[in-house]
């Protein structure tokens, strides 16, 4: 069983470094097998991430957007190793600047035909990747309503788009 784990570990690690590179051009990252000192020496997996030009430091020192990208790289690495049938991502790209948002979107586009994405977002550009958009609204009655069904993104009024835009 341990051999099986090591095979999976290597695979996720390879995918992680590759995806990290797409989100951090010129950067490197890897997973490391460690003894978890805080957990009684139980074997664990550590994450190392080094954006281009920077020195390797603890994840805590990375910026908000950089941490989001590392988390997404792990997520996609897991996908490539063992795909889930669908992913529900709720505002996972909120901290990303324009350039990184596009990198994230490009990554998702590559997987469009391999898995299903449900994405909650306020970002107009993320909306534009949709095959289908649902709008949720709530009036003064405190009750949620689904206000649009299966709109193609082009059909969305500018109002709704700007409502979605951060």
């Amino acid at each position: 069983i341990h051999a099986k784990f090591l095979i999976t570990f290597d695979e996720v690690n390879t995918n992680f470094n590759r995806v990290f590179n797409e989100l951090f051009p010129g950067g490197t990252a890897r997973l490391a097998l460690v003894e978890d000192e805080q957990d009684g020496g139980e074997p664990g997996v550590e994450v190392e991430a080094q954006p281009h030009g920077k020195r390797l430091q603890s994840l805590s020192l990375l910026s908000g957007g950089e941490r989001s990208l590392v988390g997404l790289a792990i997520l996609f690495a897991l996908f490539y190793t063992r795909p889930s049938p669908f992913y529900i991502l709720d505002e996972v790209e909120a901290a990303l600047d324009d350039v990184n948002l596009q990198r994230f979107i490009n990554l998702m586009k590559k997987l469009k035909n391999e898995t299903q994405f449900l994405i909650v977002t306020h970002q107009r550009r993320t909306m534009e990747t949709a095959d289908c958009v649902y709008g949720v609204s709530m009036q003064a009655d405190g009750i949620s309503k689904i206000i649009s069904q299966k709109l193609a993104p082009e059909d969305i009024s500018d109002e709704q788009k700007s409502e979605a835009e951060l």
Binding site: F5, T8, F9, V12, D36, D39, P43, G44, V45, E46, L59, R67, S68, G71, L72, I74, L75, T81, R82, S84, P85, F86, Y87, I88, D90, V92, K112, N113, Q116, F117, L118, I119, V120, T121, H122, T126, M127, T129, A130, D131, C132, V133, Y134, G135, V136, S137, M138, A140, D141, G142, I143, S144, I146, I147, Q149, K150, P153, Q160, E163, A164
Partner: protein, 165 residues
């Protein structure tokens, strides 16, 4: 396998029955702050068998039942049903479509069903266990929870990889 539809009634702010139908591909959910988008995420997590109210932003599981508003009384029941296309047999039961439903009464009583056949929560966990679906597998990432994987202990991350193995 893909998600075909989610039906929500009495769950959080969805006092009235709401149905979302999905195609394979990418669906985006938009709307103003507080309108109910993340409540949909919660509804799917709950239908997939989430047992911790805190992972649904509540202090007790009763919090997911519509609590009433200034215009409507609180409801006594919350229910969510998710329908999965199973043509590829990813779920090891002999149906091309699998509907998982969960219902919670204010008394605390719960009901679960698979394709309308009553079952237990553990049965739902069982049939989903090899699908890679759910919060621990990071296939559902709630708002603000992307950081979890960076903040988790190394031993927890190892467990995640063992699940993926």
């Amino acid at each position: 396998m893909y998600l075909r539809s989610v039906t929500i009634r009495g769950f959080k702010s969805f006092a009235n029955k709401s149905v979302l139908r999905f195609e394979p591909g990418t669906t985006v959910i938009v709307g103003p702050n507080g309108s109910g988008k993340s409540n949909i995420t919660d509804a799917v997590l709950w239908a997939l068998g989430e047992q911790s109210a805190r992972n649904l932003r509540g202090s007790s599981m009763e919090d997911v039942i519509f609590a009433g508003s200034t215009s409507k009384q609180a409801l006594g029941t919350a229910e969510v049903a998710i329908t999965l296309d199973n043509s590829d047999g990813a779920i090891p039961i002999d149906f091309s479509e699998v509907t998982i439903s969960r219902r919670l009464y204010r008394s605390g009583e719960s009901e679960y069903a698979l394709n309308r056949t009553p079952c237990r929560l553990i049965d739902i966990h069982e049939i989903l266990s090899d699908t890679g679906l759910g919060r621990e597998m990071y296939s559902v990432i709630s708002q603000g929870r992307l950081d979890d994987i960076l903040n988790s202990k190394p031993s927890e991350r190892r467990q995640l990889l063992e699940e993926a193995a």
